[in-house]
């Protein structure tokens, strides 16, 4: 079975992460209920004529994908796989509101066409004139993970050599406010702003100078607090990785009551540097793709940003990173990287 390498990683997020080479050196403290991403100059990546119909999620996704391919020196991937929880929610809101305000008449095509979850994958393919395998996964907080797993399987089974895989989410304008209201109702909810972003990766079966190996990944829709430690131990054992070999543990803490899952897993990594990232990215269904970007960057650059430290200290010479994410006690994922 072929190995899987991440050969490039690009993210557009609430931080200055897209074109900056300073890897989270000067971070913006996120506050408020929602926070938009720092948008790049899209015109450098997308023709103006195409930009006018694209909502923010499409623009972010196509731009991040374009740069990920360029960084990996790939012009035509063998597959384009995306993950998104809410899809193109901005255009979805537009045409649903139009249905209501126009009494179910006069529906215009643009918002409807652009509202589907696979719009980003389709627009990337159209831009590249790429007729290869193209798929989009939408499974709440495991959307990106299923996309990544599809890429992993394709590479391992030699059905592809270079796969473009990514996750994207846009805030939209309306539904996000109701979600935030529900979140803030009891005081036990998510303590970071809801946000948005797009993270894209080129994963390949061939190693390059900047490669980080994706040792393995695993996803579980449900896991109980009593089984989380054993599940993680089994995942590591399956990959012949001992807990003591892990240099850095990255978790998707967002301050809600379900951080108890991270507390339980952290017990296994008492003497290991523990990091968090959602105070930097905000929370959204594919925020774990931002987490993967941080882990890839840490290994390829051999740097740990101080802003990510949850417990422990900055270490050098890191080789294995474990990323664990969950959302509301569901949609658990483990991703193991090595350099």
């Amino acid at each position: 079975m072929k190995k899987v390498y991440i050969n490039s990683a690009v993210t557009i997020s609430a931080q200055d992460t897209f074109e900056s080479d300073r890897f989270l050196k000067s971070v913006k403290k996120l506050s408020g209920k929602t926070i938009v991403a720092r948008y790049p100059n899209y015109k450098d990546y997308i023709a103006t004529a195409n930009l006018r119909r694209m909502a923010e999620g499409v623009k972010m996704g196509v731009t991040a994908a374009s740069k990920a391919l360029k960084d990996a020196k790939i012009t035509q991937p063998d597959a384009i796989i995306t993950g998104t929880g809410m899809g193109c929610i901005d255009d979805t809101e537009k045409f649903l509101n139009a249905i209501i305000s126009n009494d179910e008449q006069f529906l215009t095509p643009t918002a409807f066409i652009q509202s589907t979850h696979n719009t980003v994958g389709a627009q990337i393919a159209l831009g590249l004139q790429c007729k290869a395998y193209n798929n989009t996964y939408s499974h709440a907080a495991l959307s990106f993970e299923w996309a990544l797993m599809d890429a992993q399987l394709r590479l391992q089974q030699e059905e592809a050599e270079n796969v473009l895989v990514g996750g994207y989410e846009e805030l939209g304008k309306e539904i996000i406010n109701y979600r935030r209201m529900m979140e803030d109702a009891d005081g036990f909810g998510i303590q970071v702003p809801y946000s948005e972003g797009a993270s894209f990766f080129v994963v390949s079966s061939e190693k390059t100078e900047h490669s980080v190996e994706l040792i393995d990944m695993e996803a579980h829709s449900t896991l109980s607090t009593t089984s989380i430690q054993d599940s993680l131990k089994q995942f590591l054992a399956k990959n012949n990785v001992d807990i003591s070999q892990i240099d850095v543990f990255v978790s998707g803490r967002n301050g809600d009551v379900f951080d108890s899952y991270y507390d339980l897993t952290a017990e296994l990594f008492e003497n290991i540097t523990q990091l968090q990232y959602k105070h930097l990215s905000g929370e959204f269904y594919t925020a774990s793709a931002f987490g993967l970007w941080t882990a890839y960057s840490m290994l390829s650059r051999q740097e740990i940003p101080e802003a990510m430290i949850f417990k422990g200290e900055i270490k050098f010479d890191n080789h294995i990173i474990l990323i664990y994410n969950q959302f509301k006690g569901r949609d658990h994922s483990f991703i193991l990287l090595k350099r």
């Binding site: 103006t48 004529a49 930009l51 006018r52 119909r53 126009n102 008449q105 006069f106 529906l107 215009t108 095509p109 643009t110 066409i113």
Partner: protein
């Protein structure tokens, strides 16, 4: 008629997200499709819905649309003659 032409230019810019254009950039006789504003078939669908919704004009013959959407001047002229609202 001048008012209607101005209104149509504003609507087209807003509804078709022509961010690069202002009303002053669009001459009354500029071609809407092709070399002029560069509109395409999806824009044509948007315009057909706009005609129905805002002016009560239902276009059923695609060939008819090709002629009506030639320019702002032609479009305004057609709306003036056929509008029901």
């Amino acid at each position: 008629m001048t008012e209607l032409r101005q209104e149509l230019k504003e609507k087209i810019i807003e509804q078709l997200n022509l961010e690069e254009f202002t009303v002053a950039d669009i001459a009354d006789d500029d071609a809407l499709f092709g070399d002029g504003l560069g509109l395409d078939s999806i824009d044509a669908l948007e315009l057909i819905v706009m005609m129905d919704k805002d002016y009560g004009i239902q276009l059923t013959d695609p060939k008819e649309g090709k002629e009506i959407f030639k320019s702002i001047a032609v479009l305004a002229d057609y709306i003036t003659k056929h509008r029901s609202k």
